[in-house]
Amino acid sequence: MFDLARIRNDFPHLQRSLEGSPVVYLDSANTSQKPTAVIEAMKHFTEHSYAPINRSAYRMAAAATDAYENARTLIANFINAGSPDEVVFTKNATESLNLFAQGWSRQRLQQGDVVVLTHMEHHANIVPWQMMAAERGIEIRWIPLTDDGQLDLSDLDNIIDGASVVSFTAMSNVLGTMNPVREIVDRSHAAGATVMVDACQSVPHAVTDVQAMGADLIAFSGHKMLGPSGIGVLWGRPDILDQLPPLMGGGNMIDDVRLDTFSCAPVPAKFEAGTPPIIEAIGLGAAVEYLSSIGMAEIRQHEMELTQYALDTLTERFGSDIVIHGPRNIEERGGVLSFAFRDLHPHDVSQILDEKNVCVRAGHHCAKPLMRIIEAHATVRASLYLYNDTNDVDILADALTSADDIFGL
């Protein structure tokens, strides 16, 4: 059962008050708050079990290795991976995307090969490919948007014709749009492309089944899904990960090293050079256990209801004074609400909201090409998660009203 009161109680940071008022945290698309279960798991591991992994022979080291690998298994189960070996620990989704973009481009792509991205990508799924375009002479093509902030798939077959790679986001961090992942994956595969999905915004908020998605690789970050910062995941099909070269060389990633050469360890160790974020992996393992105990379908349901409430409330209270980007249909979007409020600059709106302890992001959300396309230099973004409630939305709306007092509109 989805017990919101109990869930809110699980997050110590949300229990705090600042100058007598509660904290209204609406910036989870940026990074999420952490439940006690995650904080305690990391603390307990640090106090009782911390030791090197994959190196030393004593029992404590073996137990730490088991705990690290157990976290990998928990995450594999959480996304329905075929095997824990398909789960590569990285620093964050950005590293996961770079690992694939740089490795695959250098290994497989030649001058004139085509990589297809979309206009709604985060910089993390644009810049690595631009770097490779400059280095390898790759051509980048773009899937455009419709007026209501969805991917415009009307010309998709032409765009992906002859493409080597299609890499796109499952959910926009600006518009909230949830893309038809399976359809795009299938059509891209039919065109002969390898498909990467940036699932950084979707994995924390909805059921993820990599087998049902059908993609070749997906990337996501731990810190957006109740886990700590400093850990992310690259999931890949075994044959793809076998072909993908490592990005970093060092300890742990080798099978053998001689003065003139080296050979790689098997996947996933091949991609995990150096001492990995051990405590963070334990924390992410605890996070997916916590999320599973509530149920990702239940979390999605809660966020759909709350997003609908937020859309209705903001529209009813402010009418044409507020312009909310992205799809209106709740089935096609997540709880990311980017908006323009009157003619106020998002920084000023954010400042006014901060006065009421309402935490939102103001800016370009690391998606400047998208911002140019929707003709917004910046937006205010309120993003919802499992621990938010209708009261948070009401406080947001009340705080927006106080802009009148300052700017006298």
Partner: protein
């Protein structure tokens, strides 16, 4: 937390609503420099015409929040008609007020009067907004270097 009235002083809102010296200048003879705040996307294009060592004309274009826009507007008023040395001194003085530069960087001599710009003093209490306030000034520094 300091009150918003420290930040949004009436004179700041006035410059935000009615920016002074907005527009463009012909280049050349004027020079133009773009400045932007990568954190938030605020953008400014500054046009500066320097004649005989004096900033004879200055205009701004771009978009941004009330703090960055009002700071740019007030800056154009304060800088127009100043010698390059006076302009440099003003830049240092303003950055000092924003607590991002120590006084010892100042040119010797009396600190120039900031006038309306004093209203931006409250920004210091909101550290995230200091970048907004100094955007136009950093852009001016760049422009004067190339002048």
């Amino acid at each position: 937390m300091p009150g918003l009235e420290d930040l949004y002083r009436e004179i700041i809102l006035d410059h935000y609503r009615n920016p002074r010296n907005r527009g463009e200048l012909e280049t050349p003879p004027a020079i133009s420099v773009d400045g932007h705040n990568p954190l938030c996307g605020d953008e400014i294009t500054l046009y500066v015409l320097v004649e005989d060592g004096v900033v004879s004309e200055i205009k701004t274009n771009g978009q941004g929040c009330s703090i960055s826009q009002s700071s740019a507007s007030m800056m154009t008023q304060a800088i127009r008609g100043r010698t390059l040395a006076e302009a440099e001194a003003l830049i240092h003085h303003f950055k000092h007020m924003m607590s991002i530069e120590d006084h010892h960087h100042d040119e010797p001599g009396e600190a120039p009067a900031l006038g309306d710009l004093e209203a931006l003093q409250g920004v210091v209490k909101f550290p995230v907004r200091i970048k907004c306030a100094v955007l136009a000034w950093n852009t001016l520094s760049q422009a004067l270097e190339s002048a």
